[in-house]
Amino acid sequence: MHFLFPAGAWGFVSLGVITALYLLKRRSETVRVPSLLLWQRALAEQQAMKPFQKLKKNILYFLQMALAILLTLALMRPAISGGVQGETVMIFDLSASMQAEGRLEQAKERALNLIDGMKAGDRVTVLTASREAEIALSRSGDLSRVRSVIHGLTARNGGADLDAALSLAQAMGRDIEGLNILAFSDTFASDSAQVIPVGTPQSNRALLSLSVQNGQAFVRVANYGDAATVTLECEADGALCDAVTVALEADEVRSALLSVPENAQTVRVHIQEADALLTDNERWYAAREKGTYRAALCGDNVFLEKALSLRDDLTLLRTTAAEAASLENIDLYIFDGTLPESLPAQGTLLCVAPDRQVLDIGIGDKTEPASAIRAGLSGRAQSLTAHLLLEDIALRAYTPLTGGDAVLRIGGDSLIAVTEAENRRAAVIGFDLHDSNLPMKGDFPILMQNLLGFLLPDARQSFPDGVCGDSLNVPADAQVVTPSGRLAADSWEQGVYTVRYRVADGAERVARFTLHMDPGESDLRQIGGGASEIDLNTVRDAGRELTPWVLLAFLALALVEWEVSRRVA
């Protein structure tokens, strides 16, 4: 046993104070009585009746001393040794599956049991693993702070990058000798950490996707468990519009069609029957307004024309660089090669092999490629190169770009860059499309759609439906409202998000997109990542703080003392 707050021992001073008070109190008042005769008989009677009378005379003193001792012990916070000792990192899986059957609560309870016996010098770091690994608390020896942080953890709707969290913990371990790493998870398995599995295998049903077209909702429902029958209910704009019963075999994924009104703006399909995880029992669809955008294509480039024509919300005007500035209400200017003397004042820009700087993107000297093309590293580059294979792309020459975010790189040079400067967006391709086989590849239309998604931000690709926890790729001045109606600070909420933003002509536009729980979290049948041989004995020896018990004893004794003092008075 040890004490979490040894300085509380100063409370023992109170014993001396009580004793001193009793000694002072013993200077009792002298009362002159006619005779002691009856008092002596009374005392003799009392002592004859109660052999412990002498003890009783001082029982208040002893009780108060015992109370002071208990209170001081409570101040010192006694604890039984055990649980975490030394330096410990606790990794918590905050994935969506941890919502099932209170798995995260189990994890918290186990962790709290382990830290109950923390003593002076012990330190705990709390790492959370959701889409990214985060440090919730760094090397704290404050038990109440650790408790508070652990209590505050909530499972999210996405997956969990436990490997990243473990790497982070191991990186800490390089600087800290004897670091214990404990991971609380329902699915994780690792040889590098002591994994404490939580939860039990559960059956679950989940909706995997929902799309709406021509008055019909197409939904896919998966059964992770034994055969079951589920009822799917469909609501359009908050009103129930259809329901269907689907019989599912074990481990089966089935599709179902439900009727919805043609003009429905939001559609919600949910499984009526409750199961282990409720979050994946519903799926949302948000209709999108098709924008009408005008793009001015300056130059004669059939590749660009073809790629742009894939967008049915885009009206393409063919013109020259010199005449482009005279056109009105153009949302996007596409310059192939030569730029006009002055760039248009409004609208976004897509410049292919420009002859001079575009906004803050500079143009270098013509260079021959020496290595393969690869995607840029920034978050925006990752988004704009989504679904690109970037294989076997040949390039005769290019002009290295400077400034902006590099979307594609070749060696250390930026090949395609995007920027957001002077309150407008621009994308620059640093090579002539005719000097490359890229337009002949399947990557080209994808790349163009991605770039258009950036340049025309209300297009479908700009606000794609996704998984909770995805980064929100919206314009800097856009306002995003979560399904619960608050301004979005993150994307962990499931449902329909609303984006309000302004386009080139200053008009406000509204777009919607949906985010859903990571479908990979719906299968709850496997616990501990299959590592059933985990030795739990090493973590069962949890320490425990005894302060509540001491306080309980203090209260009980205080009641006894109160009753005794009442009788004595």
Partner: protein, 284 residues
């Protein structure tokens, strides 16, 4: 001390004495002796030397023999008032009540033609001279007025040493706070042919003491001190001891034909105490 007006109210009352007076000087109280009072008692034949004035001439005419008429002799009774004047009586007006009772009883006795002696008991025994008549009333008041309670009293040692007349009435006024008890004292009075009465004087505080916490009690007679914690249990034990004393004394007196009267020091002497004395049969 009692005032003159109150004492005059007592004129209609007399000290009750159950046994006839015996052995005293002539007085107003009927005795067993035959004497010269107006109350007829018996006849007997004349014998030479008898007082010729007592011959019943009517009887001589009827029987032709000389008979003497005999009448009851009226004698005085000696009343002894034994007053506890120890220090324990000083508390809460106990001694003042005892003084008033003694004066009242002495007045009644003297008004009844009895002889009265007041003896104070503490470390020593101090009897007054035998008092009688109207001057005795003044001397009794003066004697009582000068008394101050002090010293220690052991009843069983002191009472047997009090000088008493052959027969009479003995009234002991005390709080019974005597370490050697009271039984032998009362028995000695009866042994010495006294019609004994006990007036037990206590203070309200003694009946229901109010103490809190730890206190040091000092005995007013001996100066002895005792430290104790005034708990509920202790006060209950005190009550038990007190009631044992009260019931013991009352029972002892009743069983021996003695009169027992308990009075608290806050009693109104002129009303309640007088009524209590009458109810107890001490005055009538």
């Amino acid at each position: 001390m009692l005032n003159e007006a109150f004492l005059q109210k007592l004129d209609a009352l007399r000290l009750a004495f159950r046994a006839p007076a015996q052995g005293g000087a002539g007085g107003l109280r009927r005795s067993r002796a035959l004497g010269t009072s107006v109350e007829f008692s018996d006849f007997r034949e004349y014998a030479p030397g008898d007082d010729l004035r007592r011959i019943d001439w009517n009887a001589y005419a009827r029987f032709d023999r000389l008979f003497l008429k005999l009448f009851m002799e009226e004698q005085e009774t000696h009343v002894h008032i034994l007053l506890d004047a120890s220090a324990s009586m000083a508390a809460d007006g106990k001694f003042e009540l005892a003084q008033n009772l003694a004066q009242m009883l002495a007045y009644l006795a003297l008004r009844g033609g009895d002889r009265v002696t007041i003896a104070t008991l503490n470390g020593e025994i101090r009897p007054s001279p035998a008092l009688s008549g109207r001057t005795g009333m003044l001397k009794a008041a003066e004697f009582l007025r000068e008394l101050q309670p002090a010293g220690e009293l052991k009843l069983c040692q002191a009472v047997p040493r009090v000088p008493l007349a052959n027969r009479g009435m003995a009234i002991l006024i005390t709080d019974l706070m005597s370490p050697d008890g009271y039984e032998k004292a009362l028995q000695s009075l009866q042994y010495r042919r006294q019609e004994a009465s006990l007036l037990h004087v206590l203070s309200p505080w003694e009946m229901e003491p109010r103490l809190e916490g730890m206190v040091r009690l000092r005995d007013s007679e001996t100066g002895e001190e005792r430290e104790l914690t005034a708990s509920v249990d202790l006060l209950a034990a005190y009550q038990k001891a007190l009631h044992a004393l009260l019931h013991g004394a009352e029972g002892f007196c009743r069983s021996r034909g003695m009169q027992y009267l308990r009075l608290l020091s806050d009693v109104d002497v002129e009303k309640e105490a007088l009524r209590a004395l009458a109810a107890a049969g001490l005055i009538g």
